[in-house]
Amino acid sequence: MITIENLVKRRGSKEILTGISFQGRPGRVTGFLGPNGAGKSSTLRILLGLDRATSGTALIGSVPFVWLPDPLRTVGAMLDGSGAHRARTGQAHLRWVARSAGLPRARVDEVLEIVGLTNAASKRVGSYSMGMGRRLGLATALLGDPEILILDEPVNGLDPDGIRWMRTFLRERAASGRTVLLSSHLMGELAETVDDVVIINEGKVMADGTLDEVTGSYRTLEDAFFALTTGGSL
């Protein structure tokens, strides 16, 4: 369970997040949607302990992420790009991450297989396409076979095949009782993937509910999104 409560983040005089609250529940894919610059990444970075909130709390289970005794086995995270240094090979990147959590080397080969990067494992990350980089990021998130996945724009840079694959993959994770929280600015790609939707704009939550509740009387999630983020109301 992910619980975000009243998160406020100020940078200089600018308030990037103005009291964000929502939850990510087990067994469900929660879509955290909003236009670029709405505060999605900032929220996820605070949730992962990378940035500090001005006020409010972001908890994994009942503790902040930084208190987790074995973070990699509890939460798998994917933020911008691959999260790897370009001069290293994909395999070398996964190996150091595995080592930091005391995971066996064999697990590296398993996650490479899951994301379909086995053949590119010994190539340098700098030579990867964006889609391959995202797959490596996902492989990193999956290393500890975590209960919770937190993915920032997971379908960005993926080809149609990859998007389809990601959708199926995330649905399966949720079906096995795990928690998936993903952010995106692409509505069309996500309507078929998410159970719950949180829409954010300019640092404020505009709507929060099941896919049906948020879509409401609109024809599609996309219509609802544009109505909510360009001044309309639900």
Binding site: P71, L72, D80, H85, H93, S100
Partner: protein, 254 residues
């Protein structure tokens, strides 16, 4: 321990670290080879009678370029940003989601860099002194018990230099400027050395004080600093810098 293993694995899989290690061994050894053969020429011509007391040590003082690269890339690689087309990610986000305790992460990095620098210094000192002995033969200054504390001084100097480079780069989060400034200072434009011409206080700058641990005669310098004092002064600089770096690193957004 796991964090330390992960940091060691990171260093070992970074090509620029291998360049740093190669530079660390080659730079002092090659310079020592060149100066030793020049000295040998001078001795056979009768212009000189003995190789200087700092033969080999002088080169080890200049040879810190390897540990400077090591200290800088050890942390700048975390902040290296991918191209926008690749998503603009940085490794530090992966590192800190794997090891959320910033202090533990930083201590593991400091330990790996210190250990690697110490091993590199030992290797470089052995090859440099080896080259001196081979080139100068019986005219080489004999290595004796006196050299043990001096060689320990070399190892300390290298480790401290790596940690200074590391600490500065933690603050800048970017490798190019610290790398350029620090390497220039050991080779092309030795700012700290030139400062000693202006004020004797500059002898207490970290590198100028640190070399006293093993260099016996600094050219045109009359300020006396004992090896122990020099070592303590450099220790103080490194400690203060690392504390500032740790405070900044644990407080700011990654």
């Amino acid at each position: 321990m796991r964090t330390l293993a992960a940091e060691a694995s990171k260093l070992a899989s970074l090509p620029s670290v291998w360049i740093a290690l190669a530079a660390g061994v080659l730079v002092p050894s090659v310079i020592a080879g060149i100066t030793a053969s020049a000295t040998l020429g001078a001795i056979t011509r009768g212009a000189k009678t003995l190789a200087g007391v700092d033969t080999g040590y002088q080169e080890l003082a200049f040879g810190v370029v390897g540990v400077i690269i090591l200290g800088v890339v050890g942390i700048s690689s975390e902040y290296f940003t991918e191209s926008a087309e690749s998503g603009g990610g940085r490794q530090v986000t992966t590192s800190l989601t794997a090891v959320p305790s910033r202090l533990r992460f930083l201590l593991a990095k400091i330990s790996t860099i210190a250990i690697t620098s110490a091993l590199l210094a030992i290797t470089a000192a052995a090859t440099t002194m080896g080259v001196v002995q081979v080139v100068l033969g019986e005219r080489a200054p004999a290595l004796g018990a006196d050299d043990v504390p001096r060689l320990v001084g070399v190892v300390c100097y290298w480790v401290y230099t790596a940690l200074l480079a590391f600490g500065i780069t933690v603050l800048t989060r970017h490798g190019v400027i610290p790398l350029a400034v620090l390497i220039a200072n050991t080779s092309v434009v030795t700012v700290t050395y030139l400062l000693t011409k202006i004020t004797p206080l500059a002898n207490y700058l970290p590198d100028m004080a640190g070399v006293r641990m093993f260099i016996r005669k600094l050219a045109d310098n009359t300020v006396e600093i004992s090896p122990l004092t020099g070592g303590l002064v450099m220790t103080a600089w490194v400690t203060v810098l690392l504390v500032i770096a740790a405070i900044a690193f644990t407080r700011r957004d990654a």
